[in-house]
């Protein structure tokens, strides 16, 4: 077996040194009732050719986004990634290293984390960022818990602009902590009254911009009102590329910013793994969850990096830790960071402009189709449209024509009749003029 170096001779020689009769003998502490009783209904080992054939056959049963005009978003976005990116993250010294607990032999990972933290702070407009979380949804839950720790209050309010997965993960993760999570109904028209719900019991309000339905929101007034009441503003960002073009949450008074970094790091991969971005203000850094990389010096006085403030973490604090997270999303954070480095200021802002221009064009084209209405007056690269038919049926009809045309909102909110005909449509630099024509023509036929 190709991954196992020991030979039978090795095994015999090693058993002699150990003084055991057999490998099975080393398992003598295992209760006989559970010993090898499995005899699982599974195949024996296979060579690379067989495994490749079998998995490629499964992969071929999927319609991949490269083989179809694709306008899907709703929190996962498809962007071009430069060839250098995938090569660099597959360098074995990055790929096969553990968490950098031994800083002398982990300066590569540590310096990239320090650069990642800085990039995340820059794009969000915040002071500091951590070394990543699992994903945007779990980062959102961690932000709510952090706000409760800071304010010593129990009530969390989640706007209807927030991605429904972020909202439900937050509600799930906090359901047994004694905190109250109130999730407002979906808000396709950005009409909800948030100011009127801010009071002195509130730990934080979580809003998303660009919102789930596409709207851009100036949260400055909300931030002021929340701060007046001693509460915090958490801003979620599902498409970090938007921060290349729109005012960042940090410039609008956000206290914590969480984001899903997938779009700038890795192909959608059916939704995982992604990477959670988490940024806050300096004064809250000791209440932050997750790992942090900090600068220091070595015994020769040379600049270097270490994991720091670990007294917040579970291996020191156990049940009093700020979070139970241990493994996070290091490699995807590295991919995010490399992509941001490749883009730089010029590339990041231009890519954002291209995405917006593509979406504006698409919105104009779709808005001319009879019965189709673009909902949000402002948006980045994704917006909701209302259709004259149930969106789920339209999406299936488009798929039958080989077009991945959008995401029906009913997939997330099956109990809201007023959302049945609402579909989310995203456009990125990956979409060509021909893609847009194909979608518009197909919709005209279907509707």
């Amino acid at each position: 077996m190709r991954y196992l170096p020991l030979t039978d001779d090795d095994r015999r020689a090693m058993l002699d040194v150990i003084g055991a009769a057999s490998v099975d003998d080393l398992f003598r502490d295992v209760p006989r009732a559970a010993w090898n009783a499995a005899n699982p209904d599974l195949p024996d080992h296979a060579g690379e050719i067989e495994v490749e054939r079998a998995l490629a056959a499964i992969a071929r049963k999927n319609l991949d986004c490269g083989a179809a005009p694709c306008f899907l978003g709703a929190g996962a976005y498809r962007h071009h990634t430069p060839a250098a990116l995938d090569y660099l993250i597959q360098r074995g010294e990055f790929l096969t290293a553990y968490t950098p607990y031994q800083p002398e032999v982990s300066q590569g990972t540590l310096q990239t984390l320090f650069e990642f933290q800085t990039q995340v702070a820059l794009i969000t407009g915040m002071d500091v960022a951590n070394a990543s979380m699992y994903d945007g949804a779990t980062a959102c839950a961690e932000a709510a818990a952090m706000a409760a720790r800071i304010t010593k209050r129990k009530r969390i309010l989640v706007s209807g602009s927030v991605h429904p997965h972020y909202a439900s993960v937050t509600a799930t993760q906090l359901q047994f902590t004694g905190l109250e999570v109130e999730v407002l109904p979906p808000d396709p028209l950005a009409m909800e009254d948030l100011l009127g719900r801010v009071d002195e019991d509130l730990a934080c309000l979580i809003v998303q911009t660009p919102g789930f339905f596409g709207h851009l929101r100036d949260v400055t007034g909300l931030a002021d009102a929340l701060h007046e009441m001693g509460a915090l503003l958490v801003v979620a960002v599902a498409e970090p590329l938007s921060l290349g073009l729109i005012t960042p949450p940090g410039a609008m008074g956000a206290d914590i910013v969480v984001a899903e970094g997938q779009s700038m790091a890795t192909p959608p991969s059916f939704g995982g793994p992604g990477v959670g971005l988490f940024a806050t203000r300096s004064k809250y850094v000791r209440q932050m969850p997750g790992r942090l990389c900090g600068e220091t010096v070595d015994v020769d006085g040379r600049r270097g990096y270490v994991l720091t403030l670990s007294t917040r973490e579970q291996h020191i604090r156990r049940e009093k830790a700020t979070s139970n997270i241990c493994t996070n999303s290091g490699l995807i954070a590295l991919a995010f960071s490399i992509h941001m480095t490749l883009l730089g200021e010029a590339g990041f802002t231009r890519l954002a402009e291209i995405n917006h221009a593509r979406a504006v064009d698409l919105a104009g084209r779709l808005g001319q189709i009879k019965g189709v209405r673009v909902l949000p007056p402002t948006f980045f690269n994704e917006f909701a449209v209302t259709l004259p038919k149930p969106a789920a049926e339209v999406v299936e009809a488009l798929a039958a024509r080989g077009i991945l045309g959008g995401v029906p909102v009913s997939r997330f909110h099956p109990t809201y009749p007023e959302l049945v005909e609402v579909m989310l449509v995203a456009a990125t630099e990956m979409n060509t003029d021909a893609d847009v024509d194909a979608l518009v023509d197909a919709l005209k036929e279907i509707l």
């Binding site: 991954y3 170096p5 040194v17 150990i18 055991a20 080393l26 398992f27 559970a34 080992h45 998995l55 499964i58 992969a59 999927n62 991949d64 986004c65 490269g66 899907l72 360098r91 290293a97 553990y98 968490t99 300066q107 800085t118 820059l122 699992y134 994903d135 779990t138 997965h165 993960v169 799930t172 100036d218 290349g244 005012t247 410039a251 959608p268 991969s269 059916f270 995982g272 900090g294 220091t296 015994v299 720091t308 579970q314 291996h315 156990r318 049940e319 241990c326 493994t327 290091g330 490699l331 941001m340 480095t341 730089g344 291209i354 221009a357 064009d361 980045f380 299936e396 798929a399 099956p414």
Partner: protein, 500 residues
Amino acid sequence: MVDTITGNQALQIEQPLIFEQNEPGRTAVDLPAPTVQEDRLGTLRRKTPVGLPGLSEPQVVRHYTRLSQKNYGIDSVFYPLGSCTMKHNPRLNEKMARLPGFADIHPFQPDSTVQGALELMDTLAHWLKELTGMPAVALSPAAGAHGELCGLMAIRAALEARGDARKVVLVPESAHGTNPATAATCGYEVESIPGDGNGRVSLAGLKDKLGPHVAAFMITNPNTCGLFEGEIVEISQAVHDAGALVYMDGANYNAIMGRVKVADLGIDAMHINLHKTFSTPHGGGGPGSGPTVLSDALAPFAPLPFVVHGPDGFRMVEHARDAGEGQQPFGRMKGFHGQFGVFVRALSYMMSMGKDGLAQASGDAVLNANYLHARLKGSLSASYEGPVMHEALFDDRFLKDTGVSTLDFAKAMIDEGFHPMTMYFPLVVHGALLMEPTETESKQTLDAFCDTLLALADKARAGDAADWFKSAPRHTPRRRLDEAQAARKPVLRWSPPSEG
């Protein structure tokens, strides 16, 4: 001290931060100018620069290549970190995860266009259920600690469903810190269970603590001392007799995969660190994946989403109302559908190894650990008698009166070309050195490692070597770093010089 003019040491090149290589306007991508048209940004167009540095592609490639050379990884060195299962990461897994039909599919495509993805998740679930003998598995948790949370939330949901409000979770003193942290996240008080003096849970100590207030007992098995909890069946029975449930931490599942049917141990839930046990690279800290197998008592409470097979093929269930009769999912743990890219890698590994290979792997992992234990115990101080399971635990008695600490000893190993073992964990022995070789190391590597450790131990005991150990490592890109300064005055990001 480095004696070169540049501070470089041949292949080790000093590398400034990307922000210190900035030339405004420079970029490593060529993008067309966007078509100018009226924007839909309202008043929210960004008014200030982001502040990202500009580098060209050759600079970027060199930057990250040089930084990579400052890392130890499994590809380059023996990495015997206890409880971390640092086994070889086959490149076939990477190749498979990058197939367009897996990498380039969107989580919200209609089910009809992702039947392969759903089939892959269903197949993975089949493997995990067959291997463990457990009736259900929740695939969505993102890592080990997230899987623990999944298991404890299912336990809490099951207890609440029967109107049983219990307040306490029991955790052995040798447990990993995530166990008590997870129990606290689930709203439980944590009480510690003492050991039996031989590295295992004290059954009598556990029985003393059990009662109607106890919701669950979390037990790591094989445990963090590298030992199998031989009384696990009795432990599970005692916990169930008290009306509580058993969470088994599967961090060390590598020792028993394909050999032990954990369902027969009487447990109710166990997470599997799919990334480490099934060979996905650790990536310098993730991503992971923590599928959690569940007993019949907990299966109805499994979180959303999950895959079902119906008359029209596979279907993703994303809402409680579609979950089927009797199902009461406790919620959703993660955005989208879980760590799909890790699922592909794990299944690629499982298919490569097969049931015979997985059993051979756990056998070789245990054999390798016992070999280290046997070769080192005469010189280093083994904390417990063997046989051990996947890892061998030593403590610092062998360094008594040498002036050399566990940390010093580990740092000296770095200069000899080995990644250190896990240090100072578990907390139940003094100055712990926990070594997990895994099955993917050859006898030659293990012998070289043992020869080195025995020589280092001799050197420590010979006297007058304390300064030599304390000044290690000397041949690394950086020597020991001042962690106290990093924590006292945290510098967590680069700032432009003008901002100080």
